[in-house]
């Protein structure tokens, strides 16, 4: 897929609870094609300590309004600066980068989308793509507490949503891999994105139950296009760039000890 450097305009920047913002961007021309699971490298302007772009996954593409959405967790100086953009500001992005999730062969497959924390972001666009092709995606979303569960209404519009929180303030108490849906339903395919320990636990569950599983990694990255070889993950084929060969991998390709 052709990659672009674009100056996009902010149409909306909404604070979602304390630590997250949802930034919507547009341009006059139609946005390029983007696939669920792909990401953008966003330039951070006006921060003294932020030198590199920030890789942020594509949360959603609103084709009707020609908008691309980014769900951003405020982690350090870079994301905190990005979170201050206002309607009408310009944000420079490089996109679409990496490979997306694979789509199922048919609409009969039982599909589970597992997101943890801000890792739920790509699952919204993925869920929509699956619904569009006639699948019935099921979402399992985990977070520390109720305040960290994001975009629940949007997810509910696309399929059944199950939640867990570590403190029990919403959904079932515990981790996503402890949720009762995993005991009552046999899925054919799991897509997951979130903290690495969570994805490893999800991949372990998939392995033990003979379920296909794709994970989306977020290794520390510089170039985003496979040039600098900084974001490597150790795989069956040796070190490969998460930005170019991933960020989505079948867990079987990785050398995770699960």
């Amino acid at each position: 897929m052709k990659k672009y450097i674009l100056d996009l305009t902010v149409t909306e920047n909404t604070r979602l609870h304390d630590n997250y913002v949802l930034i919507k961007l547009t341009q006059d021309k139609p946005l390029p094609e983007m696939l669920p699971g792909q990401f953008a490298e966003i330039r951070i302007d006006g921060s003294n300590t932020t030198f590199l772009r920030r890789p942020i996954s594509i949360n959603y593409v609103d084709h009707a309004n020609n908008e691309v959405w980014f769900l951003v967790q405020l982690v350090g100086d870079g994301t905190r600066k990005l979170a201050t953009v206002e309607k009408g500001d310009t944000v420079n992005v490089v996109l679409p980068l990496g490979n997306g999730f694979s789509m199922p062969e048919n609409t009969e497959k039982k599909l589970l989308l597992v997101g943890g924390g801000v890792g739920t972001a790509p699952m919204l666009y993925m869920g929509e793509a699956l619904k569009k092709m006639g699948c019935k995606p099921v979402f399992l979303l985990g977070a520390r507490s109720a305040n960290d569960l994001l975009q629940l209404e949007e997810f509910k519009a696309l399929g059944d949503v199950y939640t867990t929180t570590e403190d029990g303030s919403a959904g079932e108490k515990g981790y996503v891999t402890m949720h009762s849906i995993l005991k009552t339903t046999k899925f054919d395919m799991i897509y997951t994105c979130g903290p690495k320990p969570m994805m490893m636990a999800v991949a372990k569950y998939a392995k033990e139950n003979g379920i296909e599983c794709e994970v989306s990694l977020e290794n520390t990255m510089a170039c985003g296009v496979g040039a600098c070889l900084c974001c490597v993950e150790n795989t069956q084929e040796g070190h490969v760039c998460v930005c170019k060969e991933g960020p989505v991998f079948n867990y079987k390709k990785l050398l995770w000890q699960i």
Partner: protein
């Protein structure tokens, strides 16, 4: 339009803008963003005789106005390059240059000899300055004797343009530059990354798997500029300047300090189209100041 062409050894370059090894892949990674043929020279990823997996992750740490890397020369070896990469890049109409690295003199010479046979690779850049490899290139680059030995061995088997990339992690870089020149180098490029370190205070751990790594980016520019100025006065062969060049103005500063050409490295990560913008910016600068050729500003610093 001013004349932007410059010469490095037998190389004729349409403009003085090159890409720094390890920051531009094999060029192909950037073809969506820039017309590769508008770049004076593309120096591709460091190539060794044998396959190298490089260092474990994590390999990168962002620093104020810069970054540290500890990639460790990950590449699939020169034979893979010849069979699989060269066919894809040989018809790109600019100077495609291979950065050659190694851990012993015989390996450098053998890799150079193999690349010498590739018709559309008109030059190599000899990396005697990688800070991220044990017993690695930098061992040769930190003494005049080491630099001289490896450059001589490669010069014996390599007949095209030979550029030697110098380490800034030395007491006197001009001494190493002169040793490379005396051993037959056609040009020296500098600076490679500066040895640095990052620590995660919360975890009480180093950020990089290798503890130390090579620093690059805007923050290193004043050091690079000073070294280019010193080396340009010390040698007769053309100097290629790099280190923290983020825009055309930085590039002009390096040329005023004595560089015949410049390389853009880390800036490619922030603006993947920066190379062509720098070439255009140099042209605008020349026109604004009434120069007809970029050669007129090489070493034109008034002190």
């Amino acid at each position: 339009m001013a004349d932007l062409s410059v010469n490095i050894g037998k190389l004729n370059m349409a403009n003085p803008v090159m890409t720094a090894s390890g920051t531009f892949g094999y060029g192909l990674e950037f073809e969506d963003f820039v017309d590769l043929e508008k770049i004076g020279g593309i120096i591709v990823k460091g190539t060794t005789l044998h396959h190298r997996e490089g260092n474990p992750y994590p390999r990168m740490a962002e620093t104020p106005m810069g970054m540290l890397n500890a990639v460790g020369l990950q590449n699939k070896g020169v034979h893979y390059f010849v069979d699989n990469i060269y066919p894809k890049i040989k018809d790109i109409k600019t100077n495609m240059i291979v950065n050659v690295s190694g851990s012993q003199i015989e390996d450098y010479a053998e890799t150079a000899r193999i690349i010498n046979e590739l018709e559309n690779i008109p030059a190599i850049e000899l990396n005697i300055s990688c800070p991220n490899v044990k017993q690695g290139g930098m061992a040769f680059g930190v003494t005049a004797k080491g630099a001289s030995e490896v450059v001589k061995a490669v010069r014996d088997v390599y007949k095209k343009t030979l550029i030697v990339k110098l380490s800034p992690n030395v007491t006197d870089i001009t001494e190493i530059a002169r040793a490379a020149e005396d051993a037959g180098a056609d040009s020296v490029s500098l600076i490679n990354t500066l040895l640095g370190m990052a620590i995660n205070a919360e975890k009480r751990k180093p950020v990089l798997s290798t503890i130390t790594g090579g620093m690059s980016g805007a923050a290193v520019k004043p050091i690079a500029l000073r070294m280019v100025w010193q080396v340009a006065k010390a040698v007769k062969i053309p100097v290629i300047g790099l280190g923290g060049i983020m825009n055309w103005r930085d590039a002009v500063e390096f040329m005023l300090a004595g560089a015949t050409a410049i390389q853009i490295g880390t800036a490619n990560f922030i603006d993947p189209a920066i190379t062509v913008k720098v070439a255009e910016g140099i042209n605008d600068y020349l026109e604004r100041h009434g120069y007809s050729s970029v050669k007129e500003i090489i070493g034109a610093l008034e002190v």
